[in-house]
């Protein structure tokens, strides 16, 4: 039995504690918004927040997530999260959309800690998230706009 706090809710799951968090979310808790892309920490598609920091759910044993605040795309909230989602709509970022939960989670985590990221900061924070549709340019623009909004600049 593993106890988890996901999106503010306490959940209990009967799984082998070495099971990666990704599969607990997807197969045991039906939280399918977090996606599988590589299973090896190489693509960022499975990014969630663990205690506010981005984490790759595909290589994180569920036991290591116990007792921490886990947040997934389904439960993303807060000023940074909302600003990111708004900017994603405005820039029409997603193409196929499959990588985007991970992109949004990485972007929100970046802006939580830094509301004035440089282009380099953005590239550094986001280069672990692959997008096969190559929406990188719009992601960069959307993050810059979301940051400006968080700082109270522009509209």
């Amino acid at each position: 039995m593993v106890r988890l706090r996901i999106n503010g809710e306490e959940r209990e799951v009967e799984v082998d504690p070495t099971t990666p968090l990704l599969w607990v979310l997807r197969d045991h808790l039906q939280l399918t918004g977090t996606k599988y892309g590589c299973g090896r920490g190489l693509c960022g598609t499975c990014t969630v927040h663990l205690g506010g920091n981005p984490a790759r759910a595909c290589i994180l044993p569920v036991s290591a997530a116990a007792g921490q605040d886990i947040r997934t795309i389904e439960g993303l909230e807060g000023a940074a999260g909302e600003a990111v989602k708004d900017a994603w709509r405005e820039h029409a970022v997603p193409q196929c959309g499959f990588c985007q939960a991970g992109q949004v989670m990485s972007a929100a985590a970046l802006l939580e800690g830094n509301d004035a990221p440089s282009q380099q900061d953005i590239d550094d924070a986001m280069s672990g998230n692959l997008c096969r549709c190559a929406t990188y340019d719009r992601i960069r623009g959307a993050i810059s706009d979301a940051a400006a909004k968080l700082r109270g600049e522009g509209e």
């Binding site: 082998d16 599969w23 299973g39 598609t45 193409q95 939960a101 997008c131 549709c133 190559a134």
Partner: protein
């Protein structure tokens, strides 16, 4: 805002029976003939020809019958109906169609959706609008000319109005207008077409509820992974069933009975050993424990090294002639040695690697088989499943989920058939999960190629003759063991149709054979053909001592329409008539000049170690030019600074999506050029995941990307693939300009670019 649902046959029939269906429009199977609500009511069963229904509530349901994988097609085509119908987009629901031949073509591949269905969608929308106007005119007893549809209402010249919902039932009793009576909105009257509307799935993507293939959950569903033959045609000789079954959650270990043949595997499941479990993770652990031993079969010695040797050799021999203008062979033979340029180009196998690997759910019951899959081609999936289960196709239903990328891989339904076979065996619904390793190792690969190009130069060092030969395993090798060279259709993709204004042109195909499954990948053979043709053109520019842009303008020659039939060439023109979609060098020059202007070509002083490269290419009936600017440090470190893209795609439905396809297509091409490389050793694919099959990351993406879409009222062309072909040659030409290294082999990474 619209949301997406799937069409439920039963609820539709209920709607028909209950008289809730007020006005409906469709087209007759396989033709554009309109079908009215009466025809629909008289039809006894499910009527998939139905594109749009208007309910008395005013709600409009429009069918998306093509697969959504990022191009925006499931938004764009319904948007055309809504626009032409004067419907309020906020009251439109989009329904995703299952696979059914009565929709006409559903294979979302070859950048054809808009080309094939734009007119039909407009007709359906116009017919709906006209019938609603007529119904209002009848109600009011006024001439229809005094009634005008306007945003979900019909408005009379006196100012009185009736909502669409109120008119639906009466409109549904009317005769359908004849095709000749349809009147279309003027472009200036369009509300949505052109600038577009938000994509159907935006909110679902942002809140995690959008449903992709792997997100399908059915009551009682099991999870399966399969240990597939590492080599095409290999068969398992032993495996450790007990070890796999000892993993908690593993329920069954099953051998797949049939396996794809060692040659021409088609769409058949590859075979192997399946592990069925209560979760994906347990199934994967179970597969690890299986430790399958294989009889590797007849392909055990196959490898890309020996294959490349063979392809290179064949690209040096006379091939089968696919286009002949003048006498290039003689012109080259007659030219003095210092007036002949010859170069060999090659490009490797590529994997699709969409972010979502293939996956499928199937549930076989006594009634038949229900599948849910991220498929580009639900009808092929339906057919293949029917075949492997020995069922009539009408007992197989394939529902299309969102696709996490497709790029051609997901039009091959082998993975859907796997799920169907397993569900039948275990008597329960099952999801077949493909890991990234499964995806990279069991793809239908973009073909490897070797090309030889030759040119004869005139007195002024401008070319007079072009001879090009391409050797690559054909897509046909996946279906026909006798396919021993690239087909005419594949040579049409950017090789036969070079638009050069030269007196002597000869294009040939060389002999080949394959070692892995070959399939189509975003822009197909255009990738290597454009790389070779436009890099070689740049070599010729240097030989002529000309600026690359100026040289290209001269090589393409004056604005004209090229008739390949005059050069004894059969040309398939992406399935479209050549008079409707000619090879128009005027449009080609326009995008070339625009991209050059955007980039400041020749006007901008470049920083040290920088270089720019240019290429223009027509594919899928669209014209795309791009200018790539790179920096190559003296130590060889490469960075892509900027890309300027100009495109003419004819009439554009959804500009924002088209821009996305252009920049995405170009970056897809850059990713392949930089990194893409699948190799085969001892019959098996060597690469397995993103560490050894890297994709372009944000850190490597061009720092600046500019896209311009030239205004055009030409018929719509394809946009999903056309951005990709010119990317690699423009990049390689830029690297040459910056470093002096002429790259004739892909991928670029790993090659030494040090200079200075």
């Amino acid at each position: 805002m619209t949301k997406s649902t799937t069409i439920e046959r039963r609820s539709f029939l209920r709607m028909l029976a209950g008289g809730g269906l007020a006005l409906a429009f469709g087209t007759q199977a396989g033709s554009a003939a309109l079908l009215s609500c009466q025809d629909v009511r008289e039809a006894e069963a499910f009527v998939p020809e139905l594109w749009v229904t208007l309910l008395p509530s005013g709600e409009v349901k429009i069918v998306a019958h093509r697969s959504e994988m990022g191009t925006g097609i499931a938004t764009s085509l319904p948007m055309v109906v809504a626009d032409e119908m004067e419907a309020d987009w906020a009251r439109v629901t989009i329904e995703q169609a299952p696979g059914d031949a009565r929709y006409g073509d559903q294979n979302t591949d070859g950048s054809r959706s808009v080309r094939q269905f734009y007119e039909i969608m407009r007709q359906v929308g116009a017919a709906m609008r006209q019938m609603l106007e007529q119904a209002a005119a009848n109600r009011w007893g006024v001439p229809v000319s005094e009634c005008k549809a306007q945003l979900h209402e019909v408005v009379h010249t006196s100012g009185k109005k009736l909502g669409y919902g109120e008119l639906a039932t009466e409109a549904g009793q009317l005769e359908k207008p004849a095709e000749s009576e349809l009147v279309f909105k003027k472009p200036s009257e369009r509300r949505y077409q052109g600038k577009g509307v938000p994509i159907r799935d935006m909110e679902g993507i942002l809140d995690g509820t959008a449903q992709y293939g792997a997100d399908v959950r059915i009551d009682g569903m099991k999870y399966a992974v399969i240990a597939r033959p590492p080599v095409l045609g290999a068969t398992p000789t032993s495996f450790d069933r007990a070890a796999a079954e000892a993993i908690p959650g593993v329920e069954q270990v099953l051998e797949m009975d049939a396996h794809a043949p060692a040659q021409a595997p088609g769409f058949n499941p590859l075979g192997g050993v399946a592990v069925i479990a209560s979760s994906t993770w347990a199934a994967m652990q179970g597969r690890e424990a299986l430790a399958v031993k294989w009889d590797l079969g007849p392909n055990a010695a196959a490898g890309t090294e020996s294959q490349m040797e063979m392809l290179r050799a064949s690209s040096r021999e006379n091939g089968e002639i696919a286009r002949k203008r003048g006498n290039a062979v003689k012109a080259i033979a007659d030219a003095p040695d210092d007036k002949v340029i010859r170069a060999e180009y090659e490009a490797p196998y590529l994997a699709h690697a969409s972010m979502e690997p293939p996956c499928a759910v199937a549930h076989v019951t006594e009634e038949g088989c229900h599948c849910w899959a991220p498929t580009q081609n639900p009808q092929a999936a339906q057919g293949t499943v029917a075949q492997v289960l020995n069922l009539p196709p009408n007992q197989v239903r394939v529902d299309v989920t969102l696709l996490g990328g497709g790029f051609g891989r997901k039009s091959k339904p082998d993975y859907v058939a796997e799920a169907a076979v397993l569900s039948k065996k275990i008597g329960a619904p099952v999801q077949v999960f493909w890991s990234r390793e499964d995806d990279i190792r069991h793809d239908y690969y973009h073909s490897v190629s070797a090309m030889q190009l030759e040119a004869a130069l005139g007195e002024d060092n401008f070319p007079t003759a072009w001879r090009a030969r391409s050797s690559f395993p054909a897509i046909g090798t996946s279906f026909n063991p006798a396919a021993d060279r690239g087909s005419g259709f594949e040579l049409d993709l950017g090789f036969k149709d070079v638009p050069w204004d030269l007196p002597h042109i000869q294009v040939e195909s060389g002999k080949s054979s394959g070692v892995v499954r070959v399939g189509w990948l975003r822009s197909v053979c255009n990738i290597f053909h454009a790389f070779a043709a436009h890099s070689f053109a740049d070599e010729l520019a240097q030989a002529a001592g000309m600026d690359s842009l100026e040289f290209l303008r001269k090589l393409i020659g004056p604005p004209r329409k090229i008739d390949l039939a005059k050069d004894d060439a059969q040309y398939s023109n992406y399935g479209e008539p050549i008079d409707k979609h000619p090879i128009d060098t005027g449009r080609m020059l326009a995008v070339l000049n625009r991209a050059a202007e955007m980039s400041g070509w020749g006007r901008r002083q470049l920083a040290p170690n920088r270089g720019v490269g240019i290429a223009v290419h027509r594919s899928f009936l669209a014209y795309v030019a791009n200018v790539v600017e790179v920096e190559v440090a003296p130590n060889g470190r490469l960075s892509i600074e900027r890309v300027d893209i100009a495109c003419d795609a004819g009439t554009v439905l959804h500009e924002e999506r088209v821009r996305g396809q252009m920049s995405g297509g170009v970056l897809f091409g850059l990713s392949a050029a930089l990194h893409g490389n699948i190799t085969v050793r001892d019959g098996a694919v060597v690469q397995s995941n993103f560490h050894d099959y890297p994709l372009l990351r944000m850190s490597e993406a061009p720092k600046e990307i500019n896209v311009e879409i030239l205004p055009s009222d030409a018929p719509p062309s394809g946009v999903g693939e056309a951005g990709t072909p010119p990317a690699a040659p423009a990049l390689a030409n830029a690297i040459y300009a910056a470093s002096g290294h002429r790259l004739r082999r892909l991928p670029i990474s790993g090659q030494n670019l040090a200079h200075g």
